[in-house]
């Protein structure tokens, strides 16, 4: 792995006699989305403020591109911090300025750009964050969600190399939460900045994060990929992750990736050699595009509907499912052969096409939600696997067998 962009070495921070961070060691790599998860009040925001230089450690060293921050000259440190943008948990918008003025402020005060250039950059961000109608309103006239988007627009307007997001989705409804996470992921891919995020949105953040850092009991107890977190055994997992995953299952009827793995292990490894199982991989095409546009509500509804319908059809015959990526679902049918799995899939496709999609998106609502007209294509593929074989190979085979099973067409009712 490359050299870390930011590294904490034995960083300790105290407020009075209270220790907030205790010998923290962590690494953040360039071009990745790193998410810091932890309980409220565990010091996640304090950690972020050390990165941007709002706080300095009492002990330990923070290295920026291998150089200790404290040993840099003031101009060197200013140059490093100039690459970083910060989105505050409580937004920190200037309440005596309009949304437009708030977003334009860093450009007006720190650059020599002309009025026209500033205006075009600010308006671009305003449109991307769906704040056009609120551009000339004051923050106190906006909802919490709109304020959050204004803060996000301000953080991104200078095209920073590193963006720190302190709870970017707090106070948002589920639709907006997804839209903001998708927007962060999309911008991160588009502009290639390094995103460091503090969030409670488990497991949603797993889909957009390259690395997860777990802050627990004043220390970093885990750092690694979301997949590695699945195998992590620590009290943190019981206290934080499992409780949140339980809620997720209750809402969608799907298992978390970790629970899915446990189910897979429990149900299939007991089987005798030679027995097979079936596996279905579903995909929603172009979901990223839809979610980051103005139709995220439609996309969100589709995902929820998919979860419910998959559980309804496949859960009834002992199947168990998980959402593997933003737009991918995997279902294991432990007791079904390929023919039976295909029959159930056909039933599912028919039911989802007739009711799952159309009942959710009546013509008028589709137009309202999208501002135009959207198309969604759902594909599915089946494969057969041996209980002792790697599930990844079976998933890959199912993916290669995927074909269209349902479509939300523009011309159906619109």
């Amino acid at each position: 792995m490359d050299a870390p962009l930011i590294e904490f070495k034995d960083v300790t921070k105290r407020f009075g006699s209270r220790i907030i961070l205790d010998h923290i060691n962590l690494k953040i790599y360039e071009g990745q989305v790193t998410t810091i998860i932890g309980l409220s009040g565990s010091g996640k925001s304090v950690l972020l403020k050390h990165i941007i230089g709002l706080l300095e450690p009492d002990e330990g060293t923070i290295l920026f591109q291998g150089q200790p921050m404290l040993k840099m000259t003031k101009s060197e440190r200013t140059a490093k911090h100039a690459q970083i943008s910060y989105m505050f948990q409580d937004n920190a918008l200037f309440d005596s300025m309009t949304v437009y003025e708030n977003i334009a402020l860093p450009l007006r005060e720190t650059t020599n750009l002309g009025k026209t250039e500033i205006d075009s950059r600010v308006m671009a961000r305003i449109e991307q964050t769906e704040l056009k109608d609120a551009a000339h309103k004051y923050p106190s006239e906006l909802s919490g969600g709109m304020q959050k988007r204004a803060a996000l627009a301000r953080a991104l307007v200078t095209d920073p190399h590193i963006v720190l997001f302190d709870e970017p989705t707090s106070g948002q409804d589920p639709v907006r939460k997804n839209a903001i996470l998708s927007m962060i992921a999309q911008y991160q891919r588009k502009f290639g900045f390094t995103a460091i995020m503090v969030s409670h949105e488990i497991p949603d953040v797993y889909f957009i994060s390259n690395r997860i850092l777990a802050l627990y009991d004043r220390a970093i107890v885990f750092q690694g990929t979301p997949e590695e977190l699945e195998n992590f055994d620590h009290p943190f997992k019981d206290e934080v992750i499992r409780s949140l995953e339980g809620l997720q299952q209750e809402l969608t009827g799907l298992y978390s990736k970790r629970q899915f793995k446990v189910m897979h292990h429990a149900q299939l490894t007991q089987r005798t050699r030679g027995e097979t199982y079936s596996l279905v991989v579903f995909a929603l095409d172009d979901l990223d595009v839809i979610m980051t546009g103005s139709s995220h509500e439609t996309a969100r509804k589709t995902i929820r509907s998919m979860g419910r319908y998959i559980d309804k059809h496949f859960g009834a015959i002992g199947g168990f499912s998980t959402r593997r990526h933003t737009n991918q679902f995997v279902t294991v049918l432990p007791y079904s052969d390929l023919a039976e799995a295909q029959n159930i899939l056909n039933d599912f496709a028919h039911d989802f096409q007739e009711r799952g999609l159309q009942d959710n998106f009546e013509g008028q609502e589709r137009r309202k939600a999208s501002g135009g007209c959207i198309e969604l294509v759902i594909r599915a593929g089946i494969a057969q696997g041996q209980p002792f074989a790697e599930i990844e190979a079976v998933i890959d085979e199912a993916k290669s067998n995927q074909k269209e099973i349902a479509r939300l067409r523009c011309d159906v009712r619109g």
Binding site: G53, L54, F88, T110
Partner: protein
């Protein structure tokens, strides 16, 4: 410290360590307050110096003009009102005192010198501290507790340059102008009460006003108003900027207490510095 019941401490008597503590406590408190006061004074001086040096930044002019409007122009009405009645009451009291000695001809001298040398700069500064100074502290204090100042830091906008320098510059410009307005309207107020209401001679009043004042009186008054501008703007900005560092309260309450402290400290320092500056100017 454990106390032995069989020692020389009789029931009901205070142990010696407590008596010594009682004796030293006032000195300790005094020392602690002095250290804190000197430390704050030093911090305020550095705060003022850093902010003052940033006044000439090219992006400041718009913000300075905006602050001149808030601190200066918006205070004009209250200054007009206070100065008119100050002049009138000064004319009234002076005339009734002077007439006993048959010296009512000196009314113009008394009103003009009192206003230009003392009351003009002092009352103008106190009125601005009460009106604009309190607003400055509250505004900056709220920006501090709602992390707006931290946000400026993260955007590489120097908060001292962006928030403090324009207010100091605007105060330095506004205080002398408002003091001049106070002096003129106050003299008119003295004319209204002394000449129009009590019957003093109009020509004598105007002549005495002109004859008794020389340029030094006017410049001394302006020097004072500039000193007060530095004091009021620094104290009010400093109290707001460090509202989050208060040890006696937090959040909105801290902003409220900082606002009160800003006005009280400003007024006290205006009167103390008035004496110091006056004595220096008289010697000069």
């Amino acid at each position: 410290m454990a106390l032995d019941a069989n020692s020389h401490n009789l029931p009901g008597s205070k142990p010696p360590w407590r008596i010594s503590m009682l004796l030293t406590k006032p000195f300790a408190c005094f020392g602690q307050s002095t250290i804190s006061w000197v430390s704050n004074l030093g911090a305020s001086a550095i705060f003022l110096m850093l902010a003052f040096l940033k006044i000439l930044h090219p992006k400041q002019w718009g913000k300075i003009i905006q602050q001149i409007y808030y601190i200066g122009a918006s205070s004009t009405m209250i200054i007009l009102l206070v100065s008119l009645f100050t002049g009138m009451v000064l004319g009234l009291q002076s005339y009734t005192a002077l007439v006993k000695f048959g010296a009512q001809g000196a009314l113009g001298t008394l009103v003009a010198l009192t206003l230009v040398r003392e009351l003009g700069p002092v009352l103008t500064a106190i009125m601005i501290a009460a009106r604009a100074g309190s607003a400055i502290t509250a505004e900056i204090g709220i920006q501090r507790i709602s992390e707006q100042i931290d946000a400026l830091d993260t955007m590489r906008i120097d908060p001292l340059r962006y928030l403090i320098s324009p207010r100091i510059a605007a105060s330095i410009i506004s205080f002398p102008i408002l003091t001049a307005v106070f002096d003129i309207v106050g003299i008119i107020g003295g004319y209204i009460s002394g000449v129009l209401l009590l019957g003093a001679n109009a020509g004598t009043y105007v002549y005495r006003v002109q004859a008794s004042m020389d340029m030094k009186d006017v410049t001394d008054g302006f020097i004072k108003s500039i000193v007060f501008a530095f004091i009021v703007s620094t104290v009010c900005c400093y109290q707001g900027y460090f509202a989050h560092m208060r040890t006696d309260s937090h959040g909105a309450k801290a902003v409220g207490l900082s606002t009160t402290s800003a006005v009280v400290i400003s007024c006290v320092l205006i009167l103390v510095s008035d004496y110091v500056v006056t004595s220096l100017l008289i010697r000069g």
